[in-house]
């Protein structure tokens, strides 16, 4: 039997119709991109349209807002760091280690993602505020309820599944043969992981950092429940926005929202510049 190659399946075909077809498909794809961009930009644009420049100037000079900016950047950076420290080993073991009940473990790991943040905050408040375990930690000086550590913990809990998911996908994309080769060349399990797997998943780790960080800086529900909204103590940017809205200071709320958007945009853009398309091995 001979296989007949249909001429119109030839990818490099130069006929006009095929060219048009390919261009058409690209335009169709780009149309989706444009629609997405329009949707996001018009939402953000509406916030910008309500911006009162005077309020923005007042905000960036306001001690409370400056505090909120600093606090937000610090807590989200720290919570992202802690997320990564836990997510790397967890994601790696979920990919490479064989054990019973993995589906169940995967489901449990994903669970916090589906919880409304307010409920997550409630659970954390119960665990760290009302149990012997929480009392013990607070005896050690680690107070989570109504404190900065509460903000970090709330962001950590809410974002952990996200970090794990991204890293799991990254590790899945790396062929275990590279690690086997490293081991045949004398590497231990740990050093093959550190010297081969981690460097190869650099882009995935970067993507995980940028997503986790940007979600952390916007986290609100769980933070409000666990850390509260205490002026100059646990008032992050999203909480500052919420408080200004509750008092009818809509201009100040929008100014704070725009500061948050700008910070997120700049950091995400920098991250995006350094993230290339993941290498396929």
């Amino acid at each position: 039997m001979t296989i007949k190659i249909e001429p119109n399946l030839d990818y490099n075909s130069k006929t006009l119709i095929q060219k048009i077809k390919r261009i058409k498909f690209n335009y169709l794809l780009l149309l989706f991109v444009v629609l997405t961009i329009i949707f996001i930009l018009s939402t953000v644009g509406c916030i910008f349209a309500h911006l009162d420049l005077g309020a923005l100037k007042e905000s960036v000079r306001n001690r409370e807002v400056l505090f909120a900016i600093t606090l937000s950047i610090w807590t989200s950076t720290l919570s992202t760091f802690f997320c990564l420290m836990l997510a790397i080993p967890v994601a790696y073991s979920l990919v490479r280690v064989r054990f019973k009940g993995k589906t169940l473990v995967n489901t449990i790991v994903d669970l916090p993602m589906s919880l409304p943040p307010l409920v997550a905050g409630l659970g954390l408040l119960l665990l760290f505020g009302t149990t012997k375990f929480g009392d013990f930690l607070s005896f050690l000086g680690l107070e989570f309820v109504f404190s900065i550590w509460g903000i970090i913990l709330a962001q950590f809990f809410v974002n952990l599944p996200l970090s794990i998911r991204i890293l799991r996908a990254t590790f899945m994309g790396i062929d275990p043969r590279y690690e086997h080769v490293a081991k045949t060349l004398g590497c231990s399990d740990l050093s093959s992981f550190l010297k081969v797997t981690i460097p190869m998943s650099g882009q995935g780790i970067l993507a995980s950092i940028s997503l986790t960080w940007s979600r952390a800086i916007g986290e609100f529900g769980a933070t409000l429940m666990l850390a509260g909204a205490i002026r100059l103590e646990t008032e992050t940017l999203p909480i500052s926005i919420y408080l200004n809205m509750a008092c009818g200071e809509i201009e100040l709320a929008i100014a704070a929202a725009i500061i948050l958007i700008l910070i997120s945009f700049i950091s995400l853009y920098i991250c995006e510049r350094f993230t290339k398309f993941p290498n396929v091995y």
């Binding site: 600093t70 950047i73 610090w74 409630l122 009302t130 404190s147 429940m225 205490i230 509750a246 008092c247």
Partner: protein, 250 residues
């Protein structure tokens, strides 16, 4: 580089003075709507008596859950007596006082273009009414109750152009002239005097909420907390509330 140094220094400062903060002073759960007057009262109180006041602001119901679960703190100040009754029923409140009224009024754009004088005018078909969503904000729920009390809800409802999730959207719509009449809190109109006018609702037709303040049973500094409550209810505290657009309770 300077930004980096700033971040580093600020970080040390942020995490450095953490531990001592919740040891002294009073911890107050305060409804977010009362942030402005209460913060001023707190600053004054701290200045006069050297007792540190720490506020935790959130919606009254969020605060109630926090109190019920965490069982620490000194004072609870929700936006309506309903919440303090709830707290009292769970045995969380030792004693409570009333501080101010939360008064619903009719808000109209500057100059009152539709000539609205009473609740009845909201039922006129040419008036563009904007309203709080009864399911998602307190003023929407209360506004509906007020209209129902006056047998007007069925007449006004078809007139409602848009519903808002928060009272501040209503204020924004009225001050920009998008809406021509709405029922909002009197205090939420403070600061928009040049863009909005207030049409008061007669007392018999209105449902006025009272803002309470209560001492929590598990407070470890009951004396100071009670003193703070007395201060909030004093003429000084009430004066500050009045300056922020609330009618003080007498």
């Amino acid at each position: 580089m300077t930004a980096f140094t700033y971040m580093l220094v600020s970080g040390i400062w942020l995490f450095g003075d953490q531990s001592s903060s919740d040891e002294e002073g009073l911890f107050i759960y305060c409804g977010a709507g009362m942030k402005k007057p209460m913060q001023n009262i707190g600053i004054l109180f701290n200045h006069l008596f050297d007792i540190k006041i720490t506020y935790n602001f959130a919606g009254s119901n969020t605060l109630l859950s926090q109190i019920q679960l965490y069982r620490r703190g000194d004072v609870y100040m929700p936006g309506a007596t309903y919440y303090i009754e709830q707290a009292n029923n769970s045995g969380l409140i030792l004693t409570s006082q009333l501080v101010a009224y939360h008064t619903p009024v009719i808000a109209v754009p500057q100059g009152n273009p539709q000539g609205i004088l009473d609740l009845v005018d909201l039922a006129r078909s040419e008036v563009k009414v904007v309203f709080g969503d009864p399911n998602s904000c307190a003023i929407g729920k209360l506004g509906k109750q007020i209209l129902e009390k006056n047998n007007l809800w069925n007449l006004v409802e078809p007139n409602i152009e848009a519903k808002a999730g928060t009272v501040n959207e209503l204020v924004l719509w009225i001050s920009s002239g998008v809406g021509e009449a709405s029922i909002v809190w009197k205090s939420s109109l403070v600061g928009t005097e040049d863009k909005t006018d207030v049409v008061p609702i007669v007392e018999e037709k209105n449902i006025i909420k009272k803002i309470p303040i209560g001492l929590l049973t598990f407070s470890e500094k009951k004396q100071e907390a009670l003193f703070f409550i007395v201060f909030v209810c004093s003429s000084i505290g009430k004066f500050i509330f009045q300056a922020c657009g609330f009618d003080p309770y007498y």
